[in-house]
């Protein structure tokens, strides 16, 4: 699968195979006994849990101790405080998902300046440079995810209609790329469709933003939301207003997979591969600690998921069986 986006500095993507570990690498890593910390935006989401699961396996294989896993609750201030708390503990590396842009840039720079290897997930604050201020960025092909969502939703949108886009107000590489790619795909392939954009600052605001969007544009024929948790909130609000419409989003969380299997609103989900991304991030940490050159941007392709392939896609993404509810809705589970 090809990567259609460019990195935060226009980099070409390197595939995750570029950071594969050889048996010798594992042996050398075990001998070193490194200490690593992980700082995420949240630990609540399925995406975060799978990301951690991917990382922990690799760190376990390589004898690296994970000394802290921090939940920043999407708060830039908390992330700055947590990074400053971790620096004096002198971990060998930190994997961090910067929750904002300018507000958290200096704190991340302080990590590198303290001689701690810094691997970023999903977002690189403007002004931070790979090789200087951080080791590498590992993310999905977020531009590709936006395109997959647009392509999937477009099939359900009549000619000349308006489509709602619920974006994320924070200046965040991953969600910016998804929004830009979604609207670009429509502009190029469905110039008859007009996108109507609203942005929410917090997940809790997603339902209210849906109300705003719908009040300003009562004729919406479809909706794209930049990830699944706010998308589910938006879907609930649309159902309450009896305004159900075709929807597309990013991330195949458990609830989103069930909603897709139901088939009453979600028609397409562009899935990330968080388990594989966690593996790639941990391998990048190990290679950089071994002094091996790593690419500036490692990107994983997205997977287009519809009701027809939700079961196998769930298995691919989560390395787990699809939820029983999904199997039941699709008539694959014949028990209760």
């Amino acid at each position: 699968m090809t990567i259609s986006g460019l990195g935060p500095h226009g980099e070409r993507a390197a595939p995750p195979e570029r950071v594969s570990l050889l048996p010798d690498d594992r042996t050398a890593a075990k001998a070193a006994g490194w200490r690593v910390a992980v700082v995420l935006h949240t630990l609540e989401s399925d995406w975060a849990k799978q990301q951690l699961a991917g990382m922990m396996g690799i760190f376990g294989d390589c004898g690296a101790a994970v000394i802290d896993v921090v939940d920043c609750a999407f708060s830039p201030d908390m992330q700055v405080a947590e990074l400053d708390r971790l620096i004096p503990q002198r971990p060998d590396a930190i994997i961090s998902l910067p929750v904002a842009n300018e507000q958290v840039a200096a704190a991340h720079r302080r990590v590198s300046e303290a001689g701690i290897k810094l691997v970023l997930l999903d977002n690189a604050p403007t002004g931070l440079l790979p090789g200087k201020d951080y080791t590498a960025l590992v993310s999905s092909d977020n531009f590709g995810l936006g395109k997959i969502a647009a392509q999937g939703l477009s099939q359900h949108i009549p000619t000349g209609a308006q489509v709602g886009v619920l974006g994320f107000a924070a200046d965040f590489f991953a969600t910016n790329e998804r929004e830009i790619a979604f609207t670009k795909w429509l502009q190029v392939n469905r110039p008859d469709v007009t996108p109507r954009v609203r942005r929410f600052a917090r997940i809790e605001d997603a339902a209210a933003s849906t109300d705003d969007l719908l009040s300003a544009n009562p004729d919406l024929a479809g909706l794209f939301v930049v990830w699944d948790t706010p998308a589910l909130a938006a879907a609930n609000r649309l159902a309450e207003r009896a305004a159900t419409m075709p929807m597309a989003t990013v991330d195949l969380g458990e609830a989103a997979a069930i909603a897709l299997a139901k088939g009453d609103s979600f028609c397409c989900i562009a899935a990330q591969q968080p388990f594989q991304q966690g593996i790639a991030a941990a391998q990048t940490v190990i290679l950089s600690l071994l002094g091996r050159p790593v690419p500036a941007w490692i990107a994983l392709p997205g997977i287009g998921v519809t009701r027809d392939n939700v079961v196998e896609s769930f298995q691919t993404v989560w390395r787990l069986p699809a939820p029983r509810e999904v199997l039941r809705l699709l008539g694959l589970s014949r028990g209760n």
């Binding site: 090809t2 986006g5 990195g7 226009g10 300018e102 403007t126 670009k184």
Partner: protein, 456 residues
């Protein structure tokens, strides 16, 4: 006019017969004081008095004017050195924003910078520069509007700076463009500059991407603090940016460093460096290696329906594909021979390589180093560092922002607008905008309000 800053051209104070207007007398002192603050040369009233040699009353009056225009901020206190803590005078870099873009052969990048040239956000995406220019202009406009919506919703835009893949004729120092210069054959006859000027209502500057990337590397990358530096961009064309005494050397017409035209010889063939070592050569040789069986790795990419570009050849070289290593090595040696000549002439302390072929493998850098070390005087290479840029395409955006920032506040340009508090009121620009607004074109975008801080 999109910006309507306070009109200070007429002082409210009474003036005597024959006395010059405040506008005529204040502008030079405003320019000098603002630039002392902007460049960080002075950041208290006392320092401003000392460095400018203006009296206390003049400095106080001008700072009040600059404060009213939103160009300086005196809200912060400095450190006391006995007695009261001095009030710090800061340049209000967030007073307005600069839109920047890089147009490359295969990608387009856009960003928003503050007035100091600091990049606040950026986005890059694949693009085809040989596509019809109207499509490109439409995409550029869409991305600029998206960026403004996200990062300058209540602010205002004071300029646009573009990086293009080629020397820009007519881009003399200090001038914003009044017409689109000939850059690429595909753009001939398309009024890109006129369209942007009319639609966004701001002056447009344009420089070659080698120039902007060199500026970016010098001010925000590996070249920080360097007095002498060579910057090399390796792509379809190969260009050099030359920094002497800490300044970009542009030459008589902004065409310095076009080393891609220099003749070289390889394998019995002679031709320009662009042709024998640029990305077209790497792609062509890679295709040939895939087809004649020399490169099973590239052949495999083709068999799976993948396209072979210079990037695939560079990545294959990095993984160790022998045919790809040979192709990229030859490119590095040829470029190195030309760079060695430049290095011997200029004796730089730093050579920085950039471009996606350089970013995706270590082979080209190694081959170039070998050629430069082999062909240079030992004094030239004794402390010479030859490295790869870490900035990628961000260098062009950062450098583009620096170009606009320096031009907006260049003394000759600044004195024409400082009394009005906005460069949009610069008489030459106002005349241009007026003229372009009367020619047919799409309706202008919604205008931003004046005097608000940018939100980021």
């Amino acid at each position: 006019m999109p910006l309507n800053g306070p009109d200070l051209s007429e002082s409210s104070r009474p003036r005597g017969k024959g006395r010059p207007r405040t506008a005529e007398t204040a502008a030079p002192s405003l320019v000098e004081l603002l630039n002392l603050v902007r460049t960080g040369a002075a950041n208290t009233r006392q320092e401003l008095e000392r460095q400018s040699e203006f009296g206390r009353a003049v400095v106080a009056d001008r700072l009040t004017m600059l404060g009213d225009m939103g160009l300086v901020d005196e809200s912060e206190l400095g450190t006391a050195t006995g007695g009261r803590a001095p009030r710090l005078v800061r340049f209000a870099a967030r007073r307005a924003a600069i839109l920047v873009a890089t147009l490359d052969q295969t990608a387009i990048g856009v960003g928003v910078a503050d007035l100091s040239g600091k990049l606040l956000t950026e986005h890059h995406e694949a693009a085809d520069l040989t596509a019809p220019p109207a499509d490109l202009a439409e995409r550029l406009t869409a991305l600029f509007r998206w960026s403004m919506e996200r990062h300058a919703p209540q602010g205002s835009i004071w300029g646009i700076s573009l990086s293009v893949p080629g020397a820009v004729q007519g881009a003399t120092e200090g001038d914003f463009l009044t017409a689109t210069p000939p850059v690429l054959p595909a753009w001939e006859g398309f009024p890109l500059v006129e369209t942007l000027t009319r639609d966004f209502g701001v002056p447009v500057w344009m420089r070659s991407s080698v120039e902007t990337m060199t500026m970016g590397e010098l001010h925000a990358g590996a070249g920080i603090g360097a007095r002498s530096m060579l910057f090399l961009k390796v792509g379809r064309r190969i260009g050099a940016g030359i920094v002497c005494d800490g300044q970009l050397y542009r030459g008589a017409h902004g065409a310095a460093g076009l080393i891609g035209s220099l003749p070289v010889t390889a394998g019995g063939r002679s031709g320009p460096l662009d042709t024998l070592a640029g990305s077209d050569m790497i792609q062509r040789e890679g295709l040939s290696a895939a087809q004649d069986g020399r490169s099973p790795m590239l052949a495999d990419i083709q068999r799976r329906g993948g396209e072979i570009t210079a990037i695939e050849v560079s990545q294959a070289a990095q993984i160790g594909d022998p045919a790809s290593v040979a192709i990229v090595t030859e490119s590095g040696h040829l470029i190195g021979q030309v760079v060695a000549t430049l290095a011997n002439a200029l004796n730089p302390e730093l050579i920085v390589l950039s471009g996606s072929i350089v970013q995706t493998n270590d082979i080209l850098l190694a081959a170039l180093r070998e050629a430069v070390y082999g062909a240079s005087h030992p004094f030239v290479t004794r402390d010479l560092r030859i490295i790869r840029s870490q900035m990628g395409s961000s260098a062009g955006l950062v450098g583009g922002a620096r170009v606009a920032s320096e031009q907006l506040f260049a003394p000759g340009f600044l004195k024409e607008w400082v009394m009005q508090g906005s460069p949009i009121a610069h008489p030459a620009f106002a005349a241009l905008h007026d003229r372009l607004s009367h020619t047919a074109g799409p309706p202008p975008p919604p205008r931003a309000r004046v005097g608000q801080e940018l939100t980021t």
